[in-house]
């Protein structure tokens, strides 16, 4: 049972670690502001596919790690990821039957919500950042979602058929 569990969890953990790497990888200037929220996309995907194992708690822990890695207010990304994980899990049955175009639109809304929470907390904490640093990741994240979705579906299918 534990071995089967480990087998099922391994791909998720691997993708999350790779996502963390992509999130903190140093990028030059403009690319930095256009970096997609990899971990937010991964949280949306796994919370949609495996909502019982990967839900708000995992999202929160990932967020705390991200806060430490970014040096932001401890809990800022945690609360944002937690909220989008909640919405995803809440509507995961609906989202599973969406066609890809509609799902992408939903992901856009979720990413916008994610960035809005970050923006809002920054506002309360009096941290100012240019608007592109909020909108850039939403746009690039939405554009990259279909490819990421297909890639992750492949991983998931292979992991499950293997187990």
């Amino acid at each position: 049972m534990t071995a089967a569990n480990a087998n099922r969890r391994l791909p998720v953990i691997v993708t999350l670690v790779v996502g963390l790497m992509l999130s903190i990888m140093p990028l030059p200037g403009l690319f930095e502001t256009l970096r997609p929220d990899w971990l937010a996309l991964l949280v949306i995907f796994w919370a949609m596919q495996l909502p019982r194992t990967w839900s708000v708690g995992t999202a929160w822990i990932i967020g705390i790690v991200l806060d430490v890695a970014y040096g932001t207010l401890l809990g800022q990304h945690a609360v944002a990821l937690c909220v989008i994980a909640f919405v995803t899990v809440r509507f995961h049955l609906l989202m599973r039957v969406f066609p890809l175009s509609q799902l992408t639109a939903t992901v856009f809304a979720l990413l916008a919500l994610y960035q809005f929470i970050l923006f809002w907390i920054n506002g309360v904490a009096a941290v100012t950042a240019p608007a592109i640093s909020y909108w850039g990741p939403v746009v690039t994240g939405t554009l990259i979602w279909p490819f990421l979705y297909m890639f992750l579906s492949g991983i998931r299918y292979r992991a499950h058929s293997g187990a």
Binding site: L20, P51, V56, I64, A69, L73, L74, G75, V83, R90
Partner: protein, 287 residues
């Protein structure tokens, strides 16, 4: 029980999802508050940071490799530039080392100041010069004491060898002072030898004062010591101001042309003394 039964009947339902989310949001808000208001969470940050460290190492590895590659293939030209930069830096460091000598001289000057302090009866306090005005038309300086220390406008400033100037503007922690060599400054003095009173006026040159109001027949010679007369009220009497340099008597003019050299080294002082003829306002009479 109820939850598990519901789970069985409705597999889509995730138990206590909303509650868990609310709790986590609450915890996050508390964390953010603590993190923002005080820095009590440094320990947590460090612990999680240590866990993330391997990931950061892996992420940095390609960048490090590129850096190493860049260094290994640096052109000779760039290396020469680098050597030039390093040489300049070494020169700068040597210059800093020379400050040690300056500090030794400062020590000697401070000792001189302490001796001067035993000589004067008024209340004095040593102050450091923070800045010298770059304006070539004014001789101003800023000292590191202010109204908090009981400094007041018009207060006399001396150094180990003579009068330096007086305070013209008092801030809380600093004060601006005008040197006696400023062209707008005049100071009542007397010739130490015979008590002849006159006024020493600044010329705008750091090493020269004028005594424009001495008649041709006045008893003043080169080498006379001028001391403060105390008549103006600002300066206490008896502090050396300048030494008469040169006396030129022009028969057809009513006044002699007398110049003097300030006793204090106006352009070399680092520390000055402020004089309170009465005890300083801020400090009372503790000393």
């Amino acid at each position: 029980m109820v939850a598990s039964r519901r789970n069985n009947t409705n597999p889509a339902r995730i138990p206590a999802l909303g509650l868990r989310t609310l709790v986590l949001i609450g915890v996050s808000i508390v964390l953010m508050y603590l993190d923002h208001r005080e820095n009590h969470l440094d320990g947590i940050r460090k612990t999680i940071g240590a866990a993330v460290y391997p990931v950061q190492i892996v992420v940095d590895a390609p960048a490090r490799f590129w850096g190493w590659l860049g260094e290994s293939t640096t052109s000779r030209n760039e290396l020469e530039l680098e050597v030039g930069r390093l040489k300049a830096e070494r020169l700068l460091t040597n210059a800093r080392l020379q400050r040690l000598t300056a500090l030794e001289a400062e020590n000697a000057r401070l000792r001189a100041l302490l001796e001067a302090r035993t000589r004067v009866r008024d209340e004095v306090r040593v102050a450091e010069i923070l800045a010298v005005d770059a304006n070539p038309y004014e001789h101003n300086l800023v000292i590191g004491v202010g109204s908090r220390d009981g400094v007041y406008d018009g207060q006399a400033i001396v150094d180990a060898s003579g009068v330096v100037g007086q305070v013209i503007e008092t801030g809380l922690l600093t004060a601006q002072a005008v040197l006696i060599s400023d062209a707008d400054h005049a100071l009542p003095v007397e010739v130490n030898r015979n008590g002849l009173r006159t006024i020493a006026v600044g010329t705008g040159e750091i090493d020269r004062l004028d005594l424009p109001f001495l008649p041709n027949n006045a008893d003043v010679r080169a080498g006379d010591l001028l001391v403060t007369s105390g008549l103006g009220g600002a300066f206490p009497a008896g502090y050396p101001v300048a030494i008469v340099d040169q006396v030129t008597r022009i028969p057809q003019e009513p006044f002699a042309d007398v110049t003097a050299t300030p006793a204090a080294a106006l352009d070399q002082v680092r520390e000055v003394m402020l004089i309170w003829s009465q005890p300083p306002v801020g400090e009372g009479t503790e000393e």
